[in-house]
C-alpha cells in the first residue's frame, strides 16, 4: 500500500444559524493514500464543496482530527496551514475562476509569483505546462477569448504548476458539454497515472467512473 496522504478522524463542521446549530459535515472518517483518485458524489447541498474546502484548508472542521502528511492540521495556526496548502494542494473550480485581467500565460504563472520563484525558472515551468496542455498558441489570450473547456484546461494547468501532491476539483466539468467534459476527465486520469492524488466532487456517474473510489455524501454524512 502507498503512503497515507491525509486522514479525517470523525471530523465535523457545524455552523450556528441564529439559535440553531446545523451540521454541514457530520463525523466524517476518511483515509486518502497517495495516488488515489476519489470521486465525491451526492445531491446538491449534501456538503461536497464544504468537505473539499475543509480538506483544502480554506475552511476548518469544527470538530475531530485532520492529519495531512503526518501533520495535525486541526491544531495548526492559520499561517502554517496556508504554507501547507500552498505547497501541496492545487485547486480546480467549476467556474474556472481565472483572473479576467490576466492572459493565459499570466494566469498560469500567478502561483509561482507567490512562491518567489526566479523569473527564468518561472518561464521554463510555464512553457512546459503550456506545451503539455497544447495551449502554447493561446498563451497571450484573455480568459474571455477562450471556450469553457479551454478555460478549464488553463485552470488545471494553473493548479498543477506548483507541483502539488493533491488536486481538489469541485465539479470541474459542471459548466462544460460532454465532449469537453470527457477530455478533462481523460486528463485527470492521466495525471493520476503520473502519481497526482485527485479528489473531485461531481454529479455525473460517468465522471465518477474515472475515479478509483467513490464516496457518497448525504446531508453531510458518508453513506
Amino acid at each position: 500500500m502507498k503512503n497515507k496522504l491525509l486522514s479525517l478522524n470523525i471530523a465535523s463542521k457545524t455552523v450556528n444559524l441564529g439559535s440553531h446549530k446545523i451540521a454541514l459535515l457530520d463525523k466524517i472518517d476518511l483515509q486518502v493514500h497517495e495516488g488515489e483518485f476519489i470521486s465525491l458524489m451526492g445531491p446538491s447541498g449534501s456538503g461536497k464543496s464544504t468537505l473539499l474546502n475543509c480538506i483544502g484548508m480554506l475552511d476548518r472542521f469544527t470538530d475531530g482530527g485532520y492529519t495531512f502528511l503526518g501533520e495535525p492540521v486541526h491544531s495548526m495556526k492559520e499561517k502554517n496551514r496556508s504554507r501547507l496548502y500552498k505547497e501541496y494542494i492545487g485547486f480546480v473550480f467549476q467556474a474556472y475562476h481565472l483572473i479576467d485581467e490576466l492572459t493565459v500565460y499570466e494566469n498560469i504563472e500567478t502561483p509561482l509569483l507567490y512562491k518567489n520563484i526566479k523569473s527564468s525558472e518561472r518561464k521554463a515551468m510555464v512553457a512546459d505546462m503550456l506545451d503539455r496542455f497544447n495551449i502554447v498558441g493561446k498563451k497571450d489570450l484573455f480568459p474571455m477569448q477562450l471556450s469553457g473547456g479551454q478555460q478549464q484546461l488553463v485552470g488545471i494547468a494553473r493548479a498543477l504548476i506548483g507541483k502539488p501532491k493533491l488536486i481538489l476539483a469541485d465539479e470541474p466539468t459542471g459548466n462544460l458539454n460532454s465532449k469537453q467534459s470527457d477530455e478533462i476527465m481523460e486528463l485527470f486520469a492521466q495525471l493520476n497515472e503520473e502519481g497526482v492524488t485527485i479528489i473531485q466532487a461531481t454529479h455525473s456517474e460517468s465522471n465518477a467512473a474515472y475515479g478509483s473510489r467513490i464516496i457518497n455524501l448525504l446531508d453531510g454524512k458518508i453513506v
Binding site: L58, S82, F91, A95, H97, R158, G162
Partner: protein
C-alpha cells in the same frame, strides 16, 4: 410615476448604505462651504446699500504723481467747497476728519473719562447725504454752530447712562467743550461710515483756512441724478486743480470712487478714516475655493455612480426590455440624484449652522444663522440644488440611459472600461485640487513665519507707545516724561510723533539743487529714538539731546533709502542741507540703516526723524522697558500716567503687537485656507474610501483566487492600493506646477517673500500619499483577510 421613482431611489439609498452615507456626507460638506461663502459674500456686498442716495454718492480719491504712485482716500481741505462750485452736477459735498488725523478722542462727560475711537469732525452736509436719522434734538443744522456735538444713541448711553443727554456738555481732549444738541440712530453694521460722535469741522483751523497741501480730509460728493453727470468729471477735477495750484506744486490728481465700491475695493488705498474694509481679492479666492469643494463633492457622487454603473447598466437593460423609454430612465436617474442632493442640502444647512461661529471668527464678521432663512438663501439653495443635481446626475442619466438593452445586459463591453477611465480621471482631479490647497496652506504659513521672523531693521519688542494727545499742556507733558524716566522698569524714553506701523507726516524730499522729489515719511522725535527702536546708525550722530527754544536749526536723521535717493555716501551726507519741507535750515545729522516702518508688502520708503517742533506733534511717549511681564508693566505705567495726567485716559500699544497686526489679512487667509483644505481632503477621502470599498468588492473574486493560489495578505493589500497610488502620483504631476504658479502669484503681494522650496511639495506629497494609503488600505486589508471561499462559492 415620480412617486414611484422616489420610492425606488429611497430603497436603493437604503440598500447601499455606505455609498449613500459617503455621497450625502460629502455633498453636505461641499454644500455647507458653498453656503457659508454665499452668506459671507452677500454680507460683504450688502455694505452701504441702505443709503437711499447710494448711487449718487462718491468719494474723492487722490493719486500721487510722484515716484511710487499711490492712491489715497483723503484730499486737501480746500477741495470740497470747490466741488459744488465748479462742477454743475455736484449737488452737495462734505469732508470728514477723524479726531487728530485718525487718533482716539478723550472724552470727559461729567465724571466719566472715556476713550472715543469714532469721533469725527464733519461738514453738516455729510449727515444730509447719508440721510442720518435724527432720533431727538437737532440734526445737521446744529453743526453749523461751533461747540455743538451730536451723539449716536448707544454712545449717548455710554457717556451719560440713562440721563437725558440733550443739553449736557462734554470736553474733548481737554481742549474743547461741546454741548450735546442731538441724538442720531446708530450706524448699521453694514455701513462703511461709522460715527459715534460728530462735531463741526468748521471749528478746525485747517477748515477755516483751507489749503491745497495737507491731504487729510476724506471727502464725499453727491451728484444729481442726471446719468451723463460723470462725463469728463476727471477733466473738471483737473480744472479745479489747475485754477488753484501752480503747475510745479501739483503732486496729485483726483478721481471719484462710487460709494458701492468703497467697502470692497479700497484695501489698496492708504489713508482712510473708514474701517472694516472688505477685500475683493479675498472674496474671489473664497469663491474659487467654494466652487472647488463643491466640485470635489459632485465628483464623489459621479464616481460612486460610475463605480456602480455595471449594476446600473444591467438595471437599464432590464428596464428597457420591460419597455422603459430613454426619457423615463433619464428622469429616474435625475430623481434619484435629486433626492440625494436634497437630503445633503438639509444636512449641509445644519453643518453651516454648526461651522458658522468658527467661520465668523476666521473672517472677522458677525454672520447670523437666522440670515439663512431668507428668500435670497432659498433661491440660492434652489439654484445650487439644481446645479448639483444636473452635474452629478448627468453621468448616469445621459450616459447609462443610452445603452441598448442588448449592450447593457452583456457582461463586458467597453462601458466598464469607459466608466473606470472617467472614475480615474475624476479621482485625479479631486486629488489635484486637494494638493493645491495643501500647498497653499504650507506656503501661506511659511510666508507668515518669514514675515514674523524677518529682521525688520528695528526691534519692536519691549517697546510701548503711550498716547499723549490728550495731555492738556506742556507742563504735564514734561512731568510725565520725568516721572517715566525715574521708573526702574524703564530703560529709555523718547517723545515722538509716531513710530513704525503708525503713519507719520508725508512730505517730499528733493535731490540737491533740483526739483526731482520723492515721498518721505517725517517723524518728529527725540534723541533716544534710535536706541529705543535699536536702529543701526550708519554715519553721523543721534538727534541732539537738547535743543534751545527758538533755535531754527533743524537736525535730520535720514534712512538709507532717502540717502540713496539723494545720491550721497553716508559720510558725505553728514552736514548737507536737506530739502524736505522741514524748514530752510535743515541739515543731515545722521544716517540710519533702512528699517521696515510699514508692512513687508511694500519696499522700504524714505524716512526721516527730525526735531522741527512746528512740523508735527509729539503724539506718543515711546518707552523701552525691561520687565518681561507685560501685564504688570501696563498697570505700573497706567498708575504713573494717571497720577500725573489725572484727566486723561491711558491709551497704549505694544509695538510688536502692532507689527503682528499688519499681517492680519494673511493670518486670516492662512486660517481660511486651512479650514477649506481640511474640508476638501475630508470630502475627497470620503469618496476614496467608498471607491476603494467598491474596487475591493469588484475584485473580490480575483482576490479569492489569488489567495487560494498563495498570495499573502500584504501582497493583496499592495495589489489593491497600488492603483490608487498611481492616480495620486498622476495628480501630483498636474497639481504641483499649478500650485507653484498660483502661490507665486499670491506672493507677488509682498515686497519681501519666501521662495517656494521643493520641501513644500515633498511634505504635501508624503502627506497625501499617507492619507490615501490609510484610506485605501482599510478596505484593502478588509478584503485581503476575508475568507476566499466566500467569494468563490458558485451557487
Amino acid at each position: 410615476m415620480i412617486k414611484n421613482y422616489i420610492k425606488i431611489a429611497w430603497r436603493s439609498l437604503k440598500t447601499n448604505r455606505l455609498f449613500s452615507a459617503v455621497n450625502i456626507l460629502g455633498l453636505a460638506l461641499g454644500l455647507a462651504t458653498t453656503l457659508l461663502l454665499f452668506l459671507f459674500i452677500l454680507h460683504e456686498r450688502s455694505f452701504d446699500s441702505m443709503y437711499a442716495k447710494k448711487d449718487r454718492i462718491y468719494r474723492v480719491l487722490l493719486h500721487t504723481t510722484e515716484e511710487g504712485i499711490e492712491t489715497w482716500a483723503q484730499v486737501p481741505s480746500a477741495l470740497s467747497p470747490q466741488l459744488t462750485e465748479h462742477i454743475p452736477s455736484a449737488q452737495q459735498s462734505g469732508r470728514l476728519l477723524k479726531n487728530d488725523y485718525g487718533g482716539n478722542a478723550f472724552i470727559k462727560a461729567g465724571d466719566n473719562i472715556l476713550t472715543e475711537s469714532k469721533l469725527f469732525w464733519i461738514d453738516p452736509s455729510i449727515l444730509d447725504m447719508f440721510d442720518v436719522n435724527i432720533l431727538s434734538g437737532m440734526g445737521a443744522k446744529a453743526l453749523t454752530k461751533p461747540n455743538t456735538i451730536l451723539l449716536s444713541k448707544s454712545t449717548a448711553k455710554r457717556y451719560f447712562g440713562s440721563e437725558n443727554p440733550l443739553g449736557k456738555t462734554l470736553t474733548v481732549d481737554n481742549r474743547n467743550t461741546f454741548e450735546v444738541k442731538g441724538i442720531f440712530e446708530d450706524f448699521s453694521e453694514h455701513s462703511s461710515l461709522q460715527f459715534n460722535a460728530v462735531v463741526p469741522i468748521m471749528m478746525r483751523q485747517e477748515a477755516k483756512h483751507p489749503s491745497w497741501g495737507n491731504a487729510s480730509f476724506e471727502t464725499f460728493v453727491m451728484l444729481n441724478s442726471d446719468t451723463g453727470n460723470l462725463n469728463d468729471i476727471d477733466q473738471k477735477l483737473q480744472n479745479i486743480i489747475d485754477s488753484n495750484v501752480e503747475k510745479e506744486q501739483q503732486w496729485y490728481t483726483f478721481s471719484l470712487q462710487p460709494l458701492e465700491q468703497i467697502h470692497l475695493q479700497s484695501s489698496a488705498y492708504t489713508d482712510s478714516y473708514l474701517e472694516n474694509y472688505g477685500d475683493i481679492s479675498q472674496i474671489k479666492n473664497l469663491t474659487i475655493l467654494g466652487i472647488l469643494i463643491l466640485i470635489i463633492a459632485c465628483i464623489n457622487y459621479m464616481n460612486l455612480i460610475t463605480a456602480r454603473s455595471q449594476k446600473k447598466a444591467k438595471d437599464v437593460g432590464v428596464n428597457k426590455t420591460l419597455g422603459a423609454s430613454r426619457t423615463q430612465l433619464i428622469l429616474r436617474f435625475y430623481v434619484e440624484t435629486g433626492l440625494i442632493t436634497a437630503i445633503a442640502m438639509i444636512l449641509g444647512g445644519l453643518f453651516t449652522i454648526l461651522i458658522l461661529p468658527s467661520f465668523n471668527n476666521i473672517v472677522n464678521r458677525n454672520l447670523e444663522a437666522s440670515s439663512l432663512f431668507s428668500l435670497q438663501i432659498f433661491v440660492f439653495l434652489g439654484f445650487i440644488w439644481l446645479v448639483t443635481t444636473l452635474i452629478s446626475g448627468s453621468y448616469p442619466a445621459l450616459y447609462l440611459s443610452r445603452f441598448s438593452p442588448k449592450d447593457a445586459l452583456k457582461p463586458t463591453s467597453n462601458k466598464g472600461i469607459m466608466a473606470s477611465f472617467i472614475r480615474k480621471g475624476l479621482v485625479v482631479v479631486q486629488f489635484s485640487a486637494s494638493v493645491v490647497l495643501i500647498v497653499s496652506v504650507l506656503v501661506v504659513r511659511q510666508q507668515l513665519e518669514f514675515v514674523q521672523n524677518k529682521n525688520l531693521g528695528f526691534n519692536p519688542e519691549q517697546v510701548i507707545a503711550i498716547s499723549t494727545t490728550a495731555v492738556p499742556d506742556v507742563a504735564t507733558n514734561h512731568a510725565l516724561v520725568n516721572a517715566f524716566k525715574k521708573l526702574p522698569n524703564v530703560s529709555l524714553i523718547s517723545r515722538a510723533q509716531g513710530y513704525p506701523t503708525v503713519s507719520v507726516s508725508l512730505n517730499s524730499i528733493y535731490k540737491p539743487n533740483s526739483d526731482v522729489g520723492m515721498s518721505v515719511n517725517t517723524n518728529l522725535a527725540e534723541h533716544n529714538i534710535v536706541d529705543i527702536l535699536q536702529l543701526k546708525l550708519l554715519a553721523g550722530q543721534r538727534l541732539p539731546s537738547h535743543k534751545q527754544d527758538g533755535d531754527s536749526l533743524v537736525e535730520v536723521l535720514i534712512n538709507k533709502t532717502a540717502l540713496d535717493f539723494l545720491g550721497y555716501t553716508p559720510e558725505e551726507a553728514i552736514g548737507k542741507k536737506v530739502e524736505a519741507n522741514l524748514g530752510n535750515n535743515s541739515y543731515i545729522y545722521g544716517v540710519v540703516d533702512d528699517f521696515n516702518f510699514a508692512s513687508l508688502h511694500k519696499p522700504v520708503g524714505a524716512y526721516a526723524f527730525h526735531n522741527t517742533v512746528t512740523k508735527g506733534n509729539y503724539n506718543y511717549l515711546l518707552v523701552r522697558f525691561k520687565n518681561q511681564n507685560l501685564a504688570t508693566t501696563v498697570s505700573e505705567f497706567e498708575r504713573t500716567f494717571k497720577s500725573i495726567a489725572t484727566t486723561s485716559a491711558f491709551q497704549y500699544a505694544f509695538v510688536d503687537k502692532n507689527v503682528e497686526h499688519l499681517y492680519q489679512k494673511e493670518q486670516q487667509m492662512a486660517k481660511v485656507s486651512l479650514l477649506f483644505s481640511i474640508l476638501a481632503i475630508i470630502v475627497a477621502c470620503l469618496g476614496l474610501f467608498a471607491l476603494a470599498a467598491y474596487m475591493a468588492e469588484q475584485r473580490q473574486k480575483e482576490i479569492g483566487v489569488r489567495k487560494v493560489f498563495g498570495a499573502s495578505v500584504p501582497k493583496i493589500v499592495q495589489l489593491l492600493s497600488i492603483d490608487f497610488m498611481k492616480l495620486v502620483l498622476i495628480s501630483f504631476a498636474i497639481s504641483f506646477p499649478l500650485a507653484l504658479y498660483i502661490m507665486n502669484q499670491w506672493l507677488q503681494d509682498f515686497a519681501y517673500r519666501v521662495t517656494i522650496s521643493w520641501k513644500v511639495f515633498l511634505i504635501t506629497g508624503c502627506l497625501v500619499l499617507l492619507i490615501t494609503f490609510i484610506t485605501v488600505s482599510y478596505q484593502a486589508i478588509k478584503a485581503a483577510i476575508a475568507n476566499p471561499i466566500n467569494s468563490l462559492r458558485t451557487e
